[in-house]
Subunit: 226 residues, 2 copies
C-alpha cells in the first residue's frame, strides 16, 4: 500500500508536475482512499521522501549503539553512510527525486529541514563524546556540518551522474577528506609505548618558513599514512 | 516606514504570538495600508528577518571584491563576520527574534533556507578560487559548511547569553578553529627562498606511531606558530 502510493505519486509528479498533482489524484491512481494516504504520509511533501524518517531512526540507533572506544569522527562518517545506502538502494528513484527536488522550491525547503535533522543527530553524538573537552560543542557542530557537506557533495555528484558512478567510493573519498582535516579534533588515543625502537623514529628536517601544510604532507608520507 | 512595520510586527508577535498575528494586525498598528507592507516584505515571515537580503547582497559584493592574492579560507571567515555584525548591531532585537524563531517551526524552516543561501555564497567563492585543484568543489563545500557551523555555534551562544557576552571574540575563536583545521586545504603560497639559512632549519624527531595531530602540535610550536 505504502509503496503503491509512492509509485502513483511519482508517476503523476513526473507526468504532470509536482504542484499540479493533488493528493486526490494520487489516491485515485493508487485505488485507495484519502485516509489511507494520510495514515502513511502527513503531507504531499512527505511522499517525496518516504524513507528519511526510517533512515533518521536507523542513524540515531546506530549512534546510540556506538562502542565507547570507537573513534568518534569515524563513527559519524559511518553513520552518514547509512544515508548514502538508502539512496543507493534505489538509484532510479533517487535520481528522479533529485530532478524533482531541484525544480520545486517547497521540496528544496523540506530537504533542507531533513538534512538539518541528520546534522543535529551527528552533532548530538559528537557533543556527548566531546563533553568536558575545550570547545567540545564547537568541534561537534563543525565536524557534523563538515561530514554532512562532504557526504552531500559526493551524493549530488552521483545523482548528477544518473546513479551510474560508484557512489560508495566517492563518499569514502569525501569523508576521508573530513577525517584527515579533523585529526587534531580527536580525543587523545591510547598512550604509545614508552621506549620506541630505532626503527620507529622518524626525523623530519624543514625550513622554518615552510608552509605548515607542506610539512604535514612530508610527515604523512614519512609516517606512511599518505 | 519599513522600521515602523518591523517594530509593530515584533510588538504583536511578542504580545500575541506569531501565528496569532496577521498582516492586517501589523499594518493597523503601524497605521499604513496592506500594500505598503507587501512593498517591503513578500510575506509575514520576511518581516521577522528584515536584514538578511541586504546582508546576503553585502556578502556577495564583499566576496566579489576579493583581492586575487587573499587567502581564501580567511576571506570566507571575514565574509561570515558580516552576518555577526548585522546581529550585533541590534542585540535586543536579535535576542527577541532568536526566542521567537525557536518557538515557531515555520520560522525555523525559513531560517534554514537563509543559512543555506549564505553557505552557498561562501561555497561559490571557494569553488571559484579552488577551480582546477584536486577535490576543489569538495573542499569548497566542506569549508563553507564548517565556517557557517562555527559562526552559528558562536552566534547562538551569544544569543543565549541575551547578547551580553562578547560576540566578536567568540566568533573569532570559532572561526580560528576552522582556519586551523583547513590549513592543508589552502592553495600553495608563493615559493620559499631556494637556499635556506641554517637558522631557518627545524628538525623534528618523532616516533612512527605518534598520532599525527600530536606531531603537528610539536611542529607548530617548533615553527613558532602555536
Amino acid at each position: 500500500m505504502r509503496e503503491a502510493l509512492v509509485a502513483a505519486a511519482f508517476r503523476l509528479f513526473l507526468e504532470r508536475g509536482y504542484e499540479e498533482t493533488t493528493v486526490d489524484d494520487i489516491v485515485a491512481l493508487a485505488g485507495v482512499g484519502r485516509r489511507s494516504f494520510f495514515r502513511y504520509f502527513p503531507s504531499k511533501e512527505d511522499v517525496v521522501f518516504p524513507d528519511h524518517e526510517r533512515c533518521l531512526a536507523d542513524m540515531t540507533a546506530f549512534l546510540a549503539a556506538s562502542p565507547a572506544d570507537v573513534e568518534p569522527v569515524r563513527r559519524v562518517c559511518d553513520a552518514a553512510r547509512l544515508v548514502l545506502r538508502m539512496y543507493a538502494e534505489n538509484p532510479s528513484f533517487s535520481v528522479q527525486r533529485y530532478r524533482l527536488t531541484k525544480r520545486v522550491p517547497g521540496l528544496r525547503a523540506y530537504e533542507l529541514s531533513v538534512v538539518w535533522r541528520y546534522e543535529r543527530a551527528l552533532a548530538a553524538y559528537l557533543r556527548d563524546r566531546f563533553a568536558g573537552r575545550p570547545d567540545g560543542t564547537l568541534r561537534a557542530d563543525v565536524i557534523a556540518a563538515a561530514v554532512v557537506a562532504a557526504h552531500n557533495n559526493a551524493l549530488r555528484a552521483w545523482l548528477r551522474s544518473d546513479g551510474v558512478d560508484d557512489a560508495g567510493a566517492a563518499v569514502d573519498h569525501a569523508l576521508g577528506y573530513v577525517q584527515s582535516a579533523f585529526g587534531a579534533g580527536l580525543p587523545a588515543p591510547p598512550p604509545a609505548p614508552a621506549v620506541p625502537d630505532a626503527e620507529d623514529v622518524v626525523v623530519v628536517v624543514t625550513r622554518r618558513d615552510a608552509p605548515l601544510w607542506r610539512v604535514v604532507q612530508e610527515l604523512e608520507s614519512a609516517l606512511g599514512r599518505a
